[in-house]
């Protein structure tokens, strides 16, 4: 039981680093992909947050990004191994097009996550550890403190620039 909790925590850290890196690489904090993402960013800024971080959070809400890719890849690996993860990546790609997202952060994140998660399942981790880990990772960004999360993302975005 303690093992599973430890695995979930490690998976959460890996998932967090993976999706934040891919999203920032694909410049999600730069501009809102749709007007709704910019509106969310403005509200987060009014609430004491940073605009660039809020923009990335708005983009996460409005289209499947690398975090969604990581979650669905973990689900895919759980159901059917690497082919399942790649099927999830295809569905994220279709989801991006449905949501008018011109980017490839979601698809890239899903493909990368598929191989990383499969690798970890070979050394004793379960794919479910990564499903729960990714939910914890998104909770820390979108569900605890928007002001603090957006400022942290903005700081990482400045490093990228």
């Amino acid at each position: 039981m303690l093992d599973e909790i430890l695995h979930i925590l490690v998976a959460a850290i890996i998932a967090w680093i993976l999706f934040v890196t891919v999203d920032i690489f694909f410049k999600l904090p730069e501009a809102g992909g749709v007007s709704g993402a910019s509106a969310i960013a403005r509200d987060i800024e009014v609430g004491g947050g940073a605009l660039a971080g809020g923009t990335m959070m708005g983009n996460i809400v409005c289209s499947p990004d690398a975090s969604a890719g990581t979650l669905l890849a973990a689900c895919g690996v759980y159901v059917a191994g690497i082919p399942g993860g790649l099927a999830a990546a295809l569905m994220v790609f279709i989801g991006n097009r449905i949501c008018h997202d011109p980017g490839y952060a979601g698809t890239t994140g899903a493909v990368l996550a598929t191989f990383i998660i499969y690798g970890f399942t070979q050394i004793g981790f379960a794919a479910t550890d990564f499903i729960a880990g990714m939910v914890i990772a998104i909770l820390t960004i979108q569900g605890l403190s928007h002001a603090h999360a957006s400022r942290l993302l903005a700081r990482l975005w400045r490093i990228r620039q």
Binding site: M1, E4, I5, I8, V34, S35, G36, A37, S38, A39, I40, R42, D43, I44, G47, M57, G58, I60, V61, C62, S63, P64, S67, A68, L71, L72, A74, C75, G76, Y78, V79, A80, G84, A87, A88, M91, V92, I94, G95, I98, C99, H100, A126, T128, D129, I131, A132, M134, V135, I136, I138, L139, I141, Q142, G143, H146
Partner: protein
Amino acid sequence: MIALYLVAVIAVFAVIRATIEKNTGRKLPYVNVMNFAIAGALVMLLDHPLSLVAAAAYFVGSTLEANAIASTYAGGVRRE
């Protein structure tokens, strides 16, 4: 097993935060956390290969809804 319960608890937590938050723009990220949790829980609850398709369909659908709500909240598309 712990993973499933953890995800369920996070979903309920996100729903409570979304309910308490009054500002629409800041409400949507909480709903987003709930969507992640529900999609993850779906796959763990349904022991069937198609559960992946169900989770992806739910997730993409709910993201599109959030997109629509946020864009309407922002003023919508202006038509000539």
